[in-house]
């Protein structure tokens, strides 16, 4: 064996050892959750470290999906929680992307009075901690009544609150992406007789699909896993979101469930996010770096 080859093999072994160690550390919590979820013995806590516990089954998934949660007296089903979470997250995503795209386009393409003040205020808002938006929204939405009910206590109110905190980042990010699209493309469309609005819809938006997808994904995810505001704003147990329910059964509280059920629900909630993330991964990376750097 030539010394060069031997050196290459040793180097490969070293790299593989290092990366396998990292893999082990990354996978440890994931495997822990999977093994907890599969544990059928209906013990409240595992007492040994095993990947596949004896007699593994999907019982805990069945319980989470089809048995009621004890959050109300009558019990509340996974379907209801899922519906609440979807309403809030999808609503937030649609609202954020629709409002964000039009504003970001103007900030990217026009020079108008108030532009710099506007951009500056978005940066400032990005630095405001989420608890900062939470207090005034809590008070203001408590005062608005819709159909004899405080707006704050409704899912629609929660959606507004999430969109409020998601918008500054969305506009900032989309504007950064629009900046990278050459102006000549729109000008060509205008010469071909398209209106400016037409050019925006038929040229800019299709080209910005990556940035739009990232905006939708991020605002969807913030609604999907947000706990802070939901916990303080909502009062009606029928409006509990998945995130709130997960925390309730995660232990400590009066509704704590066996760990196997907590693990099963964590997996059910993570899977869609994981799938979306891997689908959009390339765009997320480019979107974050482009939007972040450009002024």
């Amino acid at each position: 064996m030539s010394p060069k080859l031997r050196k290459a093999i040793l180097r490969q072994i070293g790299l593989q050892a290092f990366l396998l160690l990292v893999t082990a550390v990354v996978m440890f919590p994931v495997l822990w959750v999977v093994s907890m979820a599969l544990d059928p013995r209906n013990i409240s806590r595992p007492n040994e470290l095993q990947l596949i516990p004896p007699g593994a089954s999907l019982e805990s998934f069945r319980v989470i999906l089809f048995e009621p949660f004890g959050l109300t007296r009558e019990g509340i089903y996974f379907g209801t929680l899922l519906k609440n979470s979807l309403v809030v997250s999808l609503g937030t995503a649609v609202m954020t992307v629709a409002l964000g795209a039009s504003a970001a386009y103007a900030f990217s393409r026009f020079r108008f009075i108030g532009r710099q003040v506007g951009m500056l205020s978005f940066i400032i808002l990005l630095m405001m901690p989420s608890t900062g938006t939470m207090v005034p929204l809590f008070v203001l939405m408590s005062r608005i009544e819709i159909g004899g009910e405080q707006l704050r206590r409704t899912l629609f109110g929660l959606m507004i609150a999430y969109a409020s905190s998601a918008l500054p980042f969305a506009i900032w990010n989309l504007k950064g992406y629009f900046d990278t699209i050459p102006k000549e493309l729109e000008e060509a469309a205008l010469i071909d007789g398209a209106s400016l609005t037409g050019a925006f819809f038929r040229v800019i938006l299709p080209l910005s699909l990556p940035a739009l997808a990232v905006t939708i994904l991020f605002s969807f995810m913030s609604g999907w896993t947000e706990f802070m505001m939901a916990w303080v704003f909502l009062e009606d147990p029928e409006r509990t979101t998945l995130a709130m329910a997960l925390r309730s059964i995660s232990g400590g509280g009066q509704h704590s469930a066996p760990w196997s059920e907590f693990a099963a629900m964590s997996i059910l909630m993570s899977l869609p996010v994981l799938v979306l993330f891997f689908l959009f991964q390339r765009w997320i990376v480019s979107g974050l770096t482009v939007g972040g750097v450009k002024g």
Partner: protein
Amino acid sequence: MAAIAKIHGSHREGLSKAVRQNLLAWAYIAPSALVMAVITFYPQIYQVWMAFTDFGAANIRPENPPDFVGFRNFVRILTNDMPAIQYYDFGRLLLFNVVWTVSNVFLHVVLGVAIALALNAKGLLFRRVYRVIFVIPWALPSYITALVWHNMFDQNYGAINLLAAKVNDLFRGTFLGAAYGPTADWLSQFTWTPIYSGLPERTNWLSGAVIIPIDFLPFLPLAFYAVLIANTWLGWPFMTVVATGALQSIPYELYEAAEVDGAGKWRQFWSITLPLLRPAMVPAIMLGTIWTFNQFNVIYFISNGEPQGMTEILVTQAYKIIQQYQLYGLAAAFSIVVFFILLIITLINNYVTKATEAYDVA
């Protein structure tokens, strides 16, 4: 801006065009500006007003306005004049928040870049498999990750202590496990012993009792190391992804040229890799700093500020002022204080970046 004005030919033409542009721009912004004015800007202004009042739960009804108290909220926050709030100490909160941010971002960047370098090594096998696996901690929602880590640090049945037991079992009877024995609360009487006596299996990671593992850092309890481990687990992949992108854009010819000139691997790393990584890493570090500074989920759901508020950061404290104590005016003032701290950090960050910009090769 000035340059644009110059391009527009005659003054009058430029003016009318500017007006038209302004109108069009505002037409585009109008819907989102209107909604944002109502749901984002107005609440922020309202918050500033609230910060100067003694707004409490009773004042939510509009017919019962709060009293104007001037700067009293701010003074109380900064002088620790808050008898109602348990374990409140602004200096401690700020110090811990800064230590938390710096130690995390440092670990994320070092680990992130090191792993990115390994992933980028020439001729590496299974590169794609590793890439997919290593993104998982970033892709998982931090909220769920935090709840899972809280569970893993459980004293009796948590994965961390079970793992320690497993390792001890593995070494039992070997020379390493010669002095093996159960060592509860091992970390509270931390001393360096020459004999390996087994890992502590019953470590009380998140207990209410104050356990200080490292004597000369008396303000960092064991729970700090627990949240640091958890947040490092979920924080480094972002840095790896950013660094990988930058590494791939470094032309291989640069290294070949350096090799011809006789530069060793170490020299190549310092003179080529690091300077070319820098432009991509700086914004990522800024973003990471702001995220970590306000990392609510990890702190709130894993240690919840225990023991005795020693691992509380500013946002979790702000949340407790709202959720537990319902002191809305005080919470508004607190959020403004946090905002100014973040602003100062960003400005310092910016300044340091600008000051070292000449270092850029690209």
